[in-house]
Structures are given as C-alpha cells and as structure tokens.
C-alpha cells in the first residue's frame, strides 16, 4: 500500500518545461511513476519526451485523468499553481518550489482547509514510495522498499536517514518530505495518521528541526493516537535564538521552538529520540526487535 503515492498515482507536472521540471519529471518517470501530463501555460500541444503538455491542469485532469500534481513553478506563481490544481480536483499536490511568500501560503491554506486536496510542501523534496512511485526530487537509488515510514521537515535529512536505514537493510514504505516553510500543507500529524492506518508500515521515523510547534503537536498526537513505534530526530540543538537556519521556518523565537523542547515533548510521548542521524537507524532496529 504505502501512503500518498503509489501504483495508482497519475502525475501531472506543473512547470514541466522548465529545466528543473523536465529533469525531475524524467527521473520520476524512469523510477516507474506514471507521469501522464505536464502543464505550462501557452505550451499546449507540445510534449516533453512523449509526455503531453497542456495549458491548464483542468485539461490534464480531463484528458489524462491526472490525480496528483507536482509543482515546479517559480515562487511568484507557485501559490496560483497549487490553487489551480486544487480547483481542478487533483487529490494530492506536491509543491517542490522554494521561496513562496508566506502570505500566499496563508491564502492557499485557507482555501484548501476542509477541501478534498492534500498539499505536501512547499519547499520540500516530495514523496517516494520505494519501488512504486517517486513524486519529487528524492533520489530513488538510496531508497529500498520496506516497512518503515519516514516524515521529515528537512530534505537532506530524509536522504541521510533513508541512506542509513537502507544500509542496515531497513526498507521504507513511504518517505515524505513535508518541507521547511512556516506555513505548509501536510504535517507530522497527518502523516502519522496515514502511517498508523497503513498496513504496510510498522514504524514511523519523524525528523524535525527548530522553529514552530509542529513537533510538539506531533508528540501530543502520538500519545493519543499512534500505537506503532515512533523514532524521532531533531536538528538544531546548537542553533542560536533569532537566527534563521537556512529554512524559512527554522528559527528559534525567544524561548520557543527550541530543539531541546521538541525532543523533550517527543520523549514524553514515548518516542525514542536519536541524538545523531546514525542513531536513528539503531533505534529503529531496537524498536522493531
């Protein structure tokens, strides 16, 4: 089964004709993802290595039955692209684009709330269900099919931790990069709920970082709703307050959003929290024993 993406995914890529868009679309297709369409306004009738390009997501849905969208549109147009996919009835939108104004994301957040579309990202590496579908930029070769679910705010930490898991023979059901922006779509809680319900996931790895309270809220959710073992990792213990550490959302404000508080909250909910990325794999092995 896995979550979010899999054999049933029919992908439309928004911004398919840009350099990044084309490159990653073809990688995802080579991985086995069913890429059915691309969208670039004004480029209808063209194709990208055989993938038909349309002017609108609506056309891609009507003509090709797209049910998942991947957004590679530049930041200033990306929120519009997400809204377009949602209104075209696409069930899952994965937005890779970094640097979207947070106000635009607040508008998207408000529009999507209570609707049928799930957003992953923005500013994220995407979602991969090893062996079946890759929607995004996570390098497929470091993953291997298996029963560990992973959800992370950071992209490179997905890679690092997946790599460590794979090296120890621990395959993954689905890896979700939820992105480093302050206002984002799917969060830890939604991912945890999906993994909890997924019969092919035995354990969830949750990778957080400084800023906001996503991890604290996830900890509360784990305590109340998650029976599968959860292993955590938090980056940014050494980050000083008030300094933005690369990600737009990675900032300790006053005494809030520290790594220590997040690790503590998770541990209080019974989550084993690793101190290094390598230790994550060790704790996963222990938890599954």
């Amino acid at each position: 089964m896995s979550i979010l993406v899999g054999p049933d995914t029919r992908l439309v890529v928004q911004g398919i004709t840009g350099n990044e868009g084309t490159f990653h679309t073809l990688r995802d297709r080579a991985y086995g993802t069913s890429v059915v369409a691309g969208v670039t306004p004004g480029k209808a009738g063209h194709d990208v290595d055989g993938i038909p390009v349309y002017d609108t997501v609506g056309d891609a849905v009507r003509e090709q039955g797209a049910n998942t969208a991947m957004v590679f549109v530049p930041a200033r147009f990306a929120a519009e692209a997400i809204l377009e996919s949602a209104d075209a009835g696409v069930a899952l939108v994965v937005c890779i684009t970094e640097g979207i104004p947070v106000q635009d994301m607040a508008t998207v957040h408000s529009h999507l709330r209570g609707g049928r579309t799930t957003l992953v990202g923005p500013n994220c590496p995407g979602v991969i269900s090893p062996g079946t579908a890759n929607v995004g930029i996570i390098p497929g070769e470091i993953c291997t099919p298996g029963r560990v679910g992973l959800v992370s705010r950071s992209g490179t930490l997905v890679y690092q931790i997946v790599h460590e898991l794979t090296q120890r023979g621990l395959g993954q059901s689905t890896c979700v990069g939820m992105g480093g922006d302050p206002v984002h779509g799917l969060g830890f809680i939604e991912a945890l709920a999906m993994f909890q319900d997924d019969p092919e996931t035995d354990l969830v790895v949750l990778t957080g970082e400084i800023g906001g309270d996503d991890e604290e809220r996830a900890a509360a959710f784990v305590a109340d709703h998650v029976t599968k073992p959860v292993v955590g990792y938090i980056a940014g213990f050494e980050a000083p307050p008030g300094k933005r550490m690369g990600h737009a959302g990675a900032i300790v404000t006053g005494s809030r959003g520290t790594a220590a508080a997040k690790a503590e909250a998770l541990e209080a909910s019974g989550v084993a929290v690793a101190r290094t990325p390598s230790q994550v794999a060790e704790l996963v092995v222990e938890a599954l024993r």
Binding site: A75, R76, G99, I100, P101, V102, Q103, D104, A106, T107, H109, S110, H111, R113, I137, I138, P139, E141, I142, S152, R153, S154, G155, T156, L157, Y159, Q160, H163, G180, P182, V183, T207, E209, I210, G211, G212, D213, D214, Y233, A235, G236, F237, E238, A239, P240, K243, R244, M245, G246, H247, A248, G249, A250, G254, S255, R256, R275, T276, P277, S278
Partner: protein
Amino acid sequence: MDLYEHQGKDLFRAHEIPTSRGILAETPEEAAEATRTLGGRAVVKVQVQVGGRGKGGGVVLVDSPERASEEAARMLSADFKGHEVNRVLVEEQLPIAQEYYTSMLLDRSAGSYLAMMTAEGGMDIEELARTRPEALRRVHIDALLGLRTFHVRELAGVLPSQAREGAGDVLRGMFQLLRERDATLVEINPLVLLEDGRVVALDAKVTIDDNALFRHEDLESLKAAFPIDPVQARADEKGLQYVKLDGNVGIIGNGAGLVMSTLDVVAQAGAEAANFLDVGGGASADQMATSLEVVLSDPAVAVVFINIFGGITRCDLVAEGILAALDRVDAQVPVVVRLDGTNAEEGRAILAEAAHPRIVVAATMLEAAERAASAANGAAA
C-alpha cells in the same frame, strides 16, 4: 527582514497609523538640531534591529538640545547589544495617559493571521499570555476573509472606551500594512492613549517576508540602511545561506537540515561551530570555492568540516569541486571532508588520489565531526 523603528514608522504613516513626529539623526549635532526643531524637548532612541531598548538605555528623554547631543553621542559611540549603531531617532515628547500593546503576525501553526491587544502596556507579552491570559485579547484572522469589523470590536473591546475608536483605526492600518507590504509581524509596544484622546504608536516593530521582496522594490531598498557585513554580503550574492556563530569549526554542508545536524554532532564531539553554511543543492566547484572563501574569512576558523550528502548531486563531482576550490582558495587550516550518498566511493577515491595536504577524508559524519573537533581543540590549546 527586520526593519528599524524609523523605517517601520514610515510604513505606519503610509498606512495611516498615527505616530509621533520624529527626525532621524546620524550625528550628535543633528540630534541637537532635531530637538530644537521639536521645541527643545525630545526622546532620543537608538536605532537597532533588536528589542529591549528601553531597559538597555536606548531610549532617553531629554529636555534640551545639549542633552540630546550628549545622549546621541553616547548611543552612536558604542554597539547596542552587539548591534552597530549608525542612527538615532529624535521624537517629540507626548503627554501620555495610558499605555497598551498590540500586534499582528502570521501565525505559522494556524496558517492565518493572529492579532493581539491588551490594555496592559509595558508587559512581556509571552509572560502575560501565560499568567493572565484573560487580559490579552487574541483573534485569528483568516487570510481570505481579512480583518472584519467584529474582529476590530473584539480586539479594541479590551481597551477603555475612550481608546477604542482610535485603536480600531490603528488595527485597520496594521492589517492593511500586513497585507499590502507582506509583513509577517507588525508590533506596537507601546500603543498609547494621549491626554487629548488620540491613540498613537510610540514604537514600531515590522518584519517583512524576505520571500516577498520581489514585489516590493521600495522595501528592498531599505536594506541600504542596514549594517554591511562584507562576508555576509558575499554569501548573499552567491545565494549561500550563511549564519556566523561563535565557535572555531567552519561548517559547509548541503541542505539546511543536514547543516543544522552537523552543528549538533560537532558540539557532541566537543567543539563549537563557527558558522552555518548551506551550499545548496548543486555544490558546484564555484559554489564550493565561494563557500570556502566565506568560511575561511572568519579568523576564528581553525578547521573546516565539509559535510555533503550526494543525492541528485554526485559525490565524485563534489570531490572535484572541493579540489578545484582548494586550487582557488589557499586554505591554511585542515579541511575534513565527509562524502556520502550517490557515488560516494568514487568521490573519496578522487580525494585520496589527489592527496591534498589539507584534506582529511572521513567515512562517516560522526568520524568527521570527531576529527574536526580534535583539530579545533588542538589548535585552541
């Protein structure tokens, strides 16, 4: 991007939020002249992008141009909490009846705006929210619905009746500023009721979303007033995410999360990072060379730790990039390199073959952190 008070107040005036009359001064003489213009009495306020000015001697009432000159001279001659001071704001003194607090911000957890108001001026707002939450009115504002009349009534209702109308105007101005200028925070502390019944913003704290600067050329230009750090400027120019820290292990990595994690493992190994630097996805030779230049320009750096996880980026190309960078940059300190992920073995082989005298190759992130820490501590001893 955090604005100076005087820049925030310019925006306030543009959005019809009442402020006190003020004149910017860059020298003690200008401060004295400004005080004369304002009638001989004034408030002199240090202009820095950090809070806590009142308690730190950064806001002083003066009753003569001479006193204004003295205070300005004192403020301009030293850093304020580690921040360079180039300007003071000289403002008129106003007859204050009461002090309040208000703010509007983008609440990341809720994905909407949050407006807050309290009649208790001069309080630490986090403290107030904890100890007496009933005294702090909090209203969430949906991004699509915007600020509604009932929001304004709800917020201003926490104030005495004579201040409500004025406070309502302030709230409408704040929301307009938030929306039209892509602010993520507008804070007024204190908001004051004057003896004549006017409600005026005595302070202005405004943060603008860096991601939205492309649609605000006028705000982008405000950066010209910020202190210039040449190292930071060079990093910005190349699109590198660089944050200066206090230790002596220079850090270069790809991806914000991995770099944060690298700072942590270096600390666990017993040393302190000198910086955060995210070289970005590509990690090309040029990016790597610039990163090394930026990190090595910090004289505290005793060792550099390059931590790369090759995903889309192949480690053999990264290894070549590091070697090319070291051709361009004359590193006087050891450079510990950890490559993992795609083509990591090829990358390590390239570095081994080059046998560069400065490069130390480590197999894992933890081993690299330990090597970097021991080099850093050896250098410090």
